[in-house]
Amino acid sequence: MSGVDTRTNLAGIELRNPVLTASGTFGYGTEFKAFMDLRRIGGFVAKSLTLEPRFGNPPPRIAEVRAGMLNAISLENVGVEAFINEKLPEIPDGVPVIASLFGTEIPAYAEVAKRLTGVPKVAGLEVNASCPHVKSGGIEFGQNPVVLAELVRTVRAATDAPLLVKLSPNVTSIAEMARVCEGEGADGISLINAVQAMDVDVRSRRPVLKNILGGFSGPAILPLALRMVWQAAQAVKLPLCGIGGITDADDAIKFLLCGATAVQVGTANYTNPMAAAEIAEGIAAYADANGFARTADLTGALEAP
């Protein structure tokens, strides 16, 4: 691994290596400090923030399914001020933090983006487009190209920070949504968010989640996510951050080969709090063993079938 250069530039954000952790699976970073030096990973995407603190859904909020899990946390968070004043100071220097943000209305997104712009340690922003849009009757922002375009345009106008948009997989054409982000001035695209799903307990004949529907994540969704990253890579020139079921270095390398500049590790953080760091080291070892001088050279290096 000695000679491999692992540095990556994702949408203007300088990363030590191409492995981030996904929003909603890594708390505010502080939860993982006991297990590892956060400087072993490229950076992390913090839990999605709103202007005001928000409570989540009543329990049960999570359930295990085959090779994955469902969650219906409903974007519980401490609010943007508490994040800046209480959580960020706990993060060691040299750890790029990407702040994820959302709202139930477009202007609320822009307000949070403004508040986070220029805050030390915040290296970039990620718009969570998988949140229900009240005016559209609860359809996700990221499910309607017109609404998504307005959202990206409005947040873009509110900030000069590196801006990623995290896409919902619950769409007919991921390529179309990626093109919308590119057309409205996003600096990069993160994909995919959790897949809408449900499960039932046949003994009680009840949905396993109190909320009925939840987001499906974990190893089971990897091929679906990989397909979407590959399709987005064909459609746009923007850098992509691949997300979906990444559990080991080989999983992460698949996303890089399909065109991702960086990856985010999600559910695997729960089963192994050091997963992201081990994956970063595994990518470097793979690059070294396969004659790649830089891990960045893995991006798009998929061979013809």
Partner: protein
């Protein structure tokens, strides 16, 4: 730092570790109850009531994604054995995860994260500690009983549906606490529910009492009701679904009486029963 033969008292727990733990023994104790003894190099300071996240099955099995998540389980004991520490966990084989765990052989390794959560505070001086364990909830109370006995009188009420599902009865017998056994079918001890014993015990008078309960939600709710009627404090240890165990997934949240939610893995699993919104706990 290692723990000695007695359970730790009011020490602050150390930061959790992720350990590769070697199975020393993993034996059935009757029908579905099992005891796994795990050797780790060094176990942090811990409190009774804290828990571990234990991966289902041995590490040597092929990478396994089904079941995916580790299981939260109470630390039964954690003791120094000289140049290593030994953590024991009692569990009941109920689903795929615990079935796989039961198949882990001595010499194999399992992945364990802990100690996690906020444990029990020991009873105040001069108090009579009444510990109420239902089914697997019993496992959370053993180390508490061991530590509380050094401070004052301890009564233990253990209940289960039937005799074969009682947990750790002989360990509690050896401790020297006053022990009450209750089964719903009367196959061991008195027939009935733990609350049939708790009610009269609270009415006895004598030293001021404090109750510690762990078991199914209806049992803890009933214990809370009885203690409120008697004007006695009640602490409960919750056993919730969790994905991570250390505050990242927010999956284990419980509703609080004052509104909002609390994370069982961080602020809990031990709560003053008055602070919980019991109607909202599944």
């Amino acid at each position: 730092m290692t723990t000695d033969q007695t359970a730790p008292t009011s020490v602050d727990p150390g930061a959790p570790i992720r350990a590769r733990a070697q199975v020393v023994s993993n034996l059935s104790e009757g029908e579905a109850n099992h005891r796994i003894e795990l050797r780790v190099e060094r176990w942090p300071q811990w409190q009774p009531g804290q828990f571990v996240m234990l991966a289902p099955g041995a590490e040597s099995a092929a990478p396994r994604y089904d079941p995916l998540l580790p299981r939260p389980m109470a630390i039964y004991t954690a003791d120094s054995k000289g140049n290593f520490d030994q953590v024991s966990v009692l569990y009941k084989v109920e689903g795929r995860g615990t079935r796989l765990l039961a198949a882990a052989e001595p010499g194999e390794h399992v992945r364990m994260v802990g100690p996690l959560g906020t444990g029990f505070e020991l009873p105040p001086e001069g108090h009579h500690a009444i510990l109420v364990g239902g089914g697997t909830g019993t496992a959370s109370l053993y180390s508490l009983a061991r530590a509380a006995l050094e401070r004052g009188p301890v009564s233990v009420i253990l209940g289960a549906r039937r005799a074969a599902l009682l947990m750790a009865e002989s360990d509690f017998e050896k401790l020297g606490a006053k022990l009450h056994i209750v089964t719903e079918d009367g196959s061991r001890g008195e027939q009935g529910l733990v609350t049939d014993v708790l009610g009269p015990l609270l009415a006895e008078g004598g030293d001021p009492a404090i109750v510690y309960a762990c078991g199914p939600t209806p049992m803890m709710r009933a214990c809370h009701r009885l203690t409120r009627e008697a004007g006695v404090s009640c602490r409960v240890a919750l056993e919730n679904r969790m994905a991570c165990g250390f505050g990242a997934c927010l999956g284990c949240a419980v509703p609080m009486a004052e509104g909002g939610f609390s994370l069982v893995c961080k602020q809990g699993p031990v709560y003053d029963a008055d602070t919980l919104e019991w109607e909202g706990i599944p």
